[in-house]
Symmetry: D2
Subunit: 490 residues, 4 copies
C-alpha cells in the first residue's frame, strides 16, 4: 500500500459528499489488500468492455486505443510488482481506473460508461474463478495420474484392507490408491460442471437494472470467451452461486485429501510402518532429535478445516440478503481466494508426496499374517457348499472367537484342523486362507484382483488425461486476453 | 419401537460375542429410529440382489420366490404402519431381514449372500437420494413456474430496485420475480448434475473388497436403473460424495429461499407495504390482537441455518476418516434427511406463498415517486451528449445533494429547472425522469424493459417445464421397483 | 400426534383471521413435535406465573387453585405418556393451555394474563437449559472421576507419548488419562459459567415491551429459583445467548470426546494393540466374522460433527435478525436439544467405556523399546554438561540418523558405545536411556513422573467431586417445582 | 519476507536430515507470514524463561544478560518495521531465535534449553490472547457506554417496537439501544470468564512430557503474570480450548453486531427513515449519483459470516486429533487472528457509527400513528375489568380486523366509538390508546417506561465503566514485559 489508511480520500464517487470518510470505515471498506488478485481479470474485462463501446459507437476509437494501451502499461506494472496500490482508492477496480486516468487522462473517465462496479466485479469474479477452477482441474488430473502410476506399480502388493480401522479383508496397495483416485475424478466432475454453469457474462447488467445506453452484451461475452449472457440484471449482480458451488467442491475435495492425510499419518507411524515419507515431506522437532514428523500429511488433514470454514463464511454472508447487491457481498472474496488457494496447494503437495512415498512391502506382508482377514472367504466357501450365509457367518465367527482365546490363527492352526472344525474339505480351507489366492478369487469389477487393479490403473491414467485436456481447454486465452497480450489488436 | 433399548439383543452378528451389549451402546448404535426412511430402497435393493443371485445360480429359484413374496408383505406392513420396528435389531437392514426370516424362515438367511451392510447401505442411500433429488427438482420446477406465471402477470408493474436496501433504479415486480427464478434454475442444474453423478451401483463391493462369489454386478445395476457400476470397492463403501454434493446444493438452495424470505418480510412490513400475504401464510400473536406475522417468510430465512448446519455436520463427520467404512459414517443420514426434507418443505411453501401474495400497486408507485431512482438515467443522458461518465456522475451527484438539502426531488423541481441546472435540454431531462419511459429505455437482454420481462417470463415457464420433465424421468420406477409393485414377476 | 396436520385448526390466536391456515404452514409452524421437551418447564413456569398473579390480586385464588390442580393432572398425563399432543395446537405452550381449558374451563383463559408466548418460551428455555446443563456438569464430573480412578490404577504404566502420531517421549497411561480429565474440567467450568449467566428471569417482559398490568417480576423469579430478573424487555425476548454459549461449550466438549475416540480407535487397532475394548462396547460385522469394531469410539469422533453443525445452525438462524422476537428463533430448539442430548450420551458412554477398557501392558512396553523416545533426555544430559542446547540437539540428531540407517537403537548399541560416540560418560547415557528412570527424572508439576501422576489422580478425583457437588446444587428443585410435586401448596 | 520460498533452508532442526525440504512443503510449513503477530509475546515469554533459567543456575548470568539485551534490540527492530522476516526460518519463534544468534552468538543456543516449540507456542498464544481479549473487553465497554449515553439522550423518544418486523407495541429509542447494550455486557462476561480460565502458564511442559532439567515453572508463571501453571504436560501442549472459547464468544459477539447492522440498514432505508447515518459512515455508488449506502451497517452484518467461519475452521481442525501436539494445530492462528481482529474492528465502528447516528423524531412519531400498537393495552384494560385474557384478546382482535377492513385506526375512529364497540368506558379506551401514557403505564423493571429507561441508561454507563476497569487491569504489563521495556532489570 502506498498510502496510509487515514489519508485524505481519493474516492471516485465523492460528488455528493460533504464529510470525510471515517478512518476505520476506509479500512473496512477497502478491499484492495486482497482483491488485487482480480487485477488481471479486471483489465481483461475492461478491454472487452471498451472494445464493445467503441464498436457500438459509444466510445471514440482514439479513446479506445488510449485505454487499451494504458491498460497494457498498468498490467505490465502490476506484473512487475511496481504498481502503487492505494487503500484510499478502495478496491482493485478503482485503483486501476485511477491509474489509467493518471496515465491517459480524460478518456479513462469514459471507460466506466454503461458499466457499474456491480457488474464489473461480477465479471471479474467469473473470469478469475474460470481460470482458477481450470487450474484446480489440472491439479486434480495430475494427482489422479500420480495415483494411477503408483497404483500400477503396486497393483500386486497385498495389504490389509480396513473397516473401523480394524483389519478386515486383503486388498492391494494399488487398489487403495485407486480408491482415492476415484474420489478425485468426482471432484473433477464437479469442477467441470461448475465451469460450464458459471461461463456466462453478467456485463451490461449495470448496477442492477441494465443501462439505457445502446451496448452489445453478446459482443463483450464473446470477447471474454463466455458461452452466453446472464438473463436477469438483478440476479446477475446478486448472484454468487458459482462461488458457493466452487467452494463446496473445494470443501469436499479438501475432505478427500484429509482422508489421504490421515492414512499417511497412520501408515507412517511406527505402529503401522507401511510407508516411509521422504525427508522432503517431513520436518524435525526443535526438541526431539529423533523425530521425522509427517507435517504435510497432518496439514492435509488440518487444512480441510479452513476450506469448510470458508464455505460457511460465504453461506452465512449471503443468508437473508435482499436483492440486488449488498455490501456484505464484499466478504465473498477472501474466503473464495483462501479456499481455492488452499485446495490447490494441498492437491499439489499430495501428488508430490504420494509420488515420493515408499511403501514398505515387509511391513505390509507382516500385517497380513495376523488377524483373520480371510474369515469372510471361509464363510463364502461354506456358502458355496450350500449353507445359508447367516449360518456360515455364525459358524466361522465362533471358530474365530475360539482361536483368539487360544491366541492362535488360521495359519498356525493349519488348514487341516480348520477344515475339521468347520466340517469341510481341507483343500477348500487351504485355498480360502491364502492371501494371494484370495485376491485372485475377487475377479470382478471394482475388486482388488491384482490383474484387474493393473488394468484399472491404466484406465485411470487415461481418465486423468482426459480431465487434464479439458482443464487445458478452459485455460485457452479469450480474445480480450490476447488483446492484452498484444497478440490481437484492440 | 416395539422393544425397550435395554432388552436382550437380537443381533445378527453375535456369533463371536460373549458379553451383552451395553444399553447406551445399543441406543447409540441403533439407527432404525431414522433410517426407516430407507425401507423402500432397502427392499428394492434386496429384490434386485436376490434376482441376480438366482440368475447366477447362487440362490435357488424357490428361495428367490419366497424372498420376493416375503419382502412384498414386509413392505405392505411398513406402508400400512403396522410393521414392528425393533431397536435391538439396530437398523433398517437388520429389521427387514429379521422380519423376513420370521416370515419365510431359512431362505432369508441366503439373502445376505455376497453382500455386506456396507454395500447395502451404500446402494440404499443412492436409491433414496435419487428419488428425493428428483422430487426436489420437481419442487424447484414448480416454484420456477409460479415465479414465471406471477412475473408474467406483473411484468409491467414498476417498483424500486434496491442495492444496499437503498432505492437505486426502477425495475418491475416481474423482473424481480424472474431474478429469483434464475437462481432456482441454477439450483435445478446442480441437482440434475448430482443425479447423473450418483447413478452408479455400488452393490457387489461387499464390505470393502468385493466378494469371491460369482455375482453379476451389471445385472443388479440394471435392475435398479443405474447407468453403471462403481469401479473400486474400497471407494464404493467409503464414498459419501453424492450426499455432500446434494446437501451443498440444498444449503445454497435454502440460502436462495432465505433471500426471498427476507424480501417478503421487508415487503410485508408496514413501512414498505409492497405485498400482502394472505392469512393462510401468516399467524397471529398470543398477546397482540392486531398482528399478522409473516411466519413462513421468516422460517424461509431461519431454516437456511439448519441446512447449512446439516452440511457442516456431514463434512466434519467425514473429515480425516481413513478408508473404507467407519462407523462415523452412520452420522450421514440424519443431516441428509433433515436437509432435503427442509429444503423440500421450504420450496413448496415458497411456491404457494408467492402464488398467493398480493402485490400492492399503489404502495409500489408511491415508493417510486421519492428517491432519485433516475439519477443514473440523467447521467447517461449527459454521456450521450459526449460527457465522460465520471464527469456526468459527479455533476448529477452534486445536483442530487443540493435537492436533498432542499428537501425536494427532480419531479417537484420540474424538468425545466433540472435541465437548466445541468445545462442540458429540457426534453432530455423530461424523458430521463419518467419511470415508464426509463423502463422502456432499458431495451436489452436481462434488463427490466416490461416487454422483455414478459417474454422472459414466458421463456422461464418453458425452462421450468423442461426441468419438470427431467425430474419426472428420474422418478420412473426401475425394474426392481416394478417387481415389488407386482407389475413384473420376480 | 393425535390429529392430522391438515385438520381444522384449533388456534388460540385466530380472532382476526378469516382464512384457514395452509396445511404446509401448519406443519412448519408446529413445533410441538419437539418442544414437548419443554413441557415440564412450561408447567413449572405457569405455576409460578399464576401464583404471582394471585398474590398481586390479578387472579382470583379459586382460579389459581384450579389452575395448579389442573396443571398437576396435565403433567401426570404427560409423564404417563397418555397426553394427547396436537399439531393443530402448534406448540407445547398452546397444547398445555388448551388441555387445561378442556379440564378446568374458563380460569385457564386467565393464565396467559400479563404474559406472552415470547417471554413464556424464554423462561421455559432457561429452565430447561438450567437443568440440562446441570446434568451435563454431572456427566462431566463422572467422566473426570472415572479418568481419575483409571489414572490412579495406571499411574506407573509407561507408554509412548506421541506428537504428530510419532513416538516422542515416554509418559504413563495415567498421565494420558489425566490430560483428558483436564479438558473435562475446563468444559465443566464453561458449563458452570453459563449456568450463572443464564439464571435470570425474563418473565414479565411480555411480547417485547412488558405489560401494563401490576405484576411482580421478582416474585416469579424467586419462585423459579432465578437469581434476578432480566433488565430489558426487548432483549429478554430476543436473547438466545445462553443457548449459543451452551452449544459452543457442547461443541468443544464433543471435540474433546472425538480426540478420546480417535485415540481409542488407534489403540484398539491390531497395529497399536494398546487397549482392549470389552464386547459391550464393540459390535460385529454382518459380513466378516472376525471383526470387533470399536463403534462407540468411532461415534465419539463422528458425533462431534452434529454438535458443531447444531451450533452453526443456531448462529446462522440468529444472524442479521432485527429485535425483538422473530419466528426464525423457533429454529433454536431442535439444534439445542440435539446438541445437548448428543453431548450427554457421549459423555456417559465415554465414562463407561474407559472404565471398562483393558490396557495391555505388554504391548505398551514393547512399543517403548523401539523408537528413540529418550533422545531428548540424552540431549538434556549434554546440556547439563554445559553444551548449548542447539548443539546438543544437533549432535544427538546426527547419532539417531546414523543408528536408524544401521537399523539399530540406543538399547541395542549399548550405553558404552553411545557414550563414546557422544563423548560423554557411560553412566550418564545409561541413566538417560532407561524409561523408568527417565519418567522419575521428570519430577516437576505437570510431568509424567509416576508418583506425581498418582497424586494428580487423587487431586483430580477431588476436583471432579467438587464439580459434581455444584451440579447437584443446580438440580435442587425450585419452589414452583415443589408446588407441582405437591411438596408445597400452590 | 526477505527470502524466496524455495531458497536453501536455514532450519534449526536439520541435524538428522539428508534431503532438502520440498519447496511447497516449506511454503505450507512456514507460518511466519501470520504468526509474526506473536512476536511481542514470544520475546516476553523468552525473557521470562531465560530469567528463570538463570535463577535456577541453568543459564550463566552473562548469557542471560546478553539474551535480554539481544531480545530488546530484536523487538526494537520489529517495532520499527526493519526486522528481516525469513520464510526459511519457518515461524516467528525460529526467526527470533536465529536473529538473536546472529546478534549475540552462542548464548542464543542456550535459550531453548528446557523448552520446546510446543510449550513455547502455547505460552505465546496465551499471552497474545490475554492482551487481545482485554482489548475486546475495552471495545465492548466503549460500545456499551456509547449505547448508554445515546439511550439516555433518547430515553423519552417513542418508536414502534417490532416483532416479526411488524409493528407490535411502543417502546423508546433509548429502550432499544439498551437492549443491545445488555447483549454487549453478556459478551463482556464471556470474555472475562475466558481470561480467567486461560491465565495459567504452560511453560515447562516441554514437547509433551516436561523436562528433566531442574526448572521452576512457578517462577516463569509469575514473571508472565499468570495465576498458576497448567497441571498436565500432554494437555498443556494439546489444548486450544481458550482459542475456541474466545472465538465462540467472538462469533456470538459478531452476530450481536449483525443484528445492529440489520436494524441500521432497515432504519436508514427510505421506507423506515428512522435514522440518518452521517456521510462518514456511508459510501456512494460508482454508477448512481444519489446513493448513500450504509456500507458499514451492511459489513457488520456480513462480517459475522467470517467469524462464524473462523470458529468452524478451528473446531474442524481439532476434531479427532490424538494427543499431544499435531501439526494440524498450526491452523489455529489465522482464524484466531482474523476472528478477533474482525470483532474488534466491528465493535469500534459500531460505537462510532451509533454515536454519530441521527435519529429522526418525525419519522418515528409518524410510524407510531399507524398500526395498532396499543391493541394489547386495550385487551389489558378489558382484563382489568375482569374479562379472561383469551376472551379479551379475541374481542380486540375482531375489532382490529374490522377496522383494517375499513382502512381506519383506533385514533381515527375515536375513543368513544372504540369504547362502544368493546362495551367499555370511553376513558379507559382514551387512556389505552395514547402512546405516551402507554409507555408510562409500563412502570416495571425492564419495561420501556421513559423514566425507567433513563435510569437504566445511567446504570448501564456504570456497568460499562466496570467492564472497562476490568479490561484495563488485564492490560497491566507483567514483570517480563517491564523487563523488555527497560522498566525492570533482567
Amino acid at each position: 500500500m502506498t498510502d496510509a489508511v487515514g489519508k485524505a480520500p481519493d474516492r471516485l464517487w465523492g460528488g455528493g459528499y460533504a464529510e470525510a470518510t471515517h478512518p476505520l470505515v476506509q479500512k473496512l471498506n477497502a478491499s484492495v489488500g486482497y482483491d488485487q488478485a482480480l487485477a488481471y481479470d479486471d483489465i481483461v474485462g475492461s478491454i472487452a468492455h471498451a472494445t464493445m463501446l467503441r464498436d457500438q459507437g459509444i466510445l471514440p476509437a482514439a479513446d479506445h486505443a488510449a485505454i487499451v494501451a494504458g491498460l497494457r502499461t498498468v498490467w505490465a506494472d502490476i506484473q512487475a510488482g511496481r504498481f502503487g496500490w492505494s487503500v484510499a482508492r478502495e478496491d482493485v477496480h478503482m485503483n486501476i481506473e485511477a491509474a489509467l486516468r493518471d496515465r491517459i487522462g480524460e478518456p479513462a473517465g469514459r471507460l466506466h460508461t454503461a458499466r457499474s462496479r456491480n457488474d464489473q466485479v461480477a465479471v471479474d469474479e467469473r473470469l478469475w474463478l474460470r481460470r482458477t477452477l481450470a487450474q484446480m482441474a489440472g491439479y486434480i488430473a495430475r494427482l489422479a495420474s500420480v495415483l494411477a502410476e503408483t497404483a500400477r506399480a503396486h497393483a500386486h502388493w497385498p495389504m490389509p484392507g480396513y473397516t473401523h480401522l480394524q483389519r478386515a479383508q486383503p486388498v492391494t496397495v494399488g487398489h487403495l490408491l485407486l480408491a482415492h483416485a476415484e474420489a478425485q475424478l468426482r471432484d473433477a466432475g464437479r469442477v467441470l460442471d461448475c465451469l460450464e454453469r458459471l461461463n456466462v457474462s453478467p456485463l451490461g447488467s449495470g448496477a442492477l437494472a441494465g443501462t439505457t445506453l445502446p451496448i452489445d452484451r453478446d459482443k463483450t461475452a464473446s470477447l471474454l470467451g463466455f458461452s452466453g449472457t446472464t438473463r436477469n440484471s438483478l440476479d446477475a449482480v446478486a448472484d454468487r452461486d458459482h462461488l458457493v458451488e466452487a467452494m463446496a467442491a473445494a470443501a469436499l475435495g479438501a475432505v478427500h485429501l484429509s482422508r489421504i492425510g490421515e492414512e499417511l499419518c497412520l501408515f507412517a507411524s511406527a505402529e503401522f510402518g507401511f510407508v516411509r515419507l521422504p525427508d522432503a515431506f517431513t520436518t524435525g522437532s526443535s526438541l526431539m532429535p529423533q523425530k521425522k514428523n509427517p507435517d504435510m500429511a497432518e496439514l492435509l488433514r488440518g487444512k480441510s478445516g479452513r476450506v469448510i470454514g470458508d464455505l460457511v463464511t460465504l453461506l452465512v454472508a449471503l443468508k437473508g440478503l435482499p436483492l440486488a447487491y449488498n455490501k456484505d457481498m464484499q466478504e465473498d472474496k477472501e474466503p473464495l481466494f483462501d479456499a481455492l488457494q488452499t485446495w490447490g496447494d494441498c492437491l499439489q503437495v499430495t501428488a508430490d508426496m504420494l509420488a515420493a512415498a515408499q511403501w514398505q512391502k515387509k511391513a505390509l506382508l507382516a500385517a497380513l499374517d495376523k488377524g483373520f482377514l480371510l474369515a469372510t472367504d471361509l464363510a463364502d466357501e461354506l456358502v458355496r457348499a450350500a449353507m445359508p450365509f447367516r449360518t456360515a457367518h455364525e459358524k466361522v465367527a465362533a471358530l474365530v472367537a475360539e482361536l483368539v482365546a487360544q491366541n492362535t490363527t488360521f495359519g498356525k492352526l493349519g488348514a487341516a484342523r480348520v477344515a475339521e472344525k468347520l466340517g469341510v474339505d481341507k483343500a477348500v480351507v487351504a485355498g480360502a486362507i491364502d492371501v494371494r489366492k484370495a485376491l485372485r478369487r475377487r475377479d470382478m469389477a471394482g475388486a482388488p484382483h491384482p490383474g484387474r487393479v493393473s488394468r484399472e490403473a491404466a484406465a485411470m491414467a487415461k481418465r486423468a488425461a482426459k480431465v487434464s485436456a479439458r482443464a487445458h481447454a478452459w485455460l485457452a486465452p479469450c480474445a480480450a486476453e490476447r488483446v492484452l497480450a498484444g497478440e490481437l489488436g484492440g
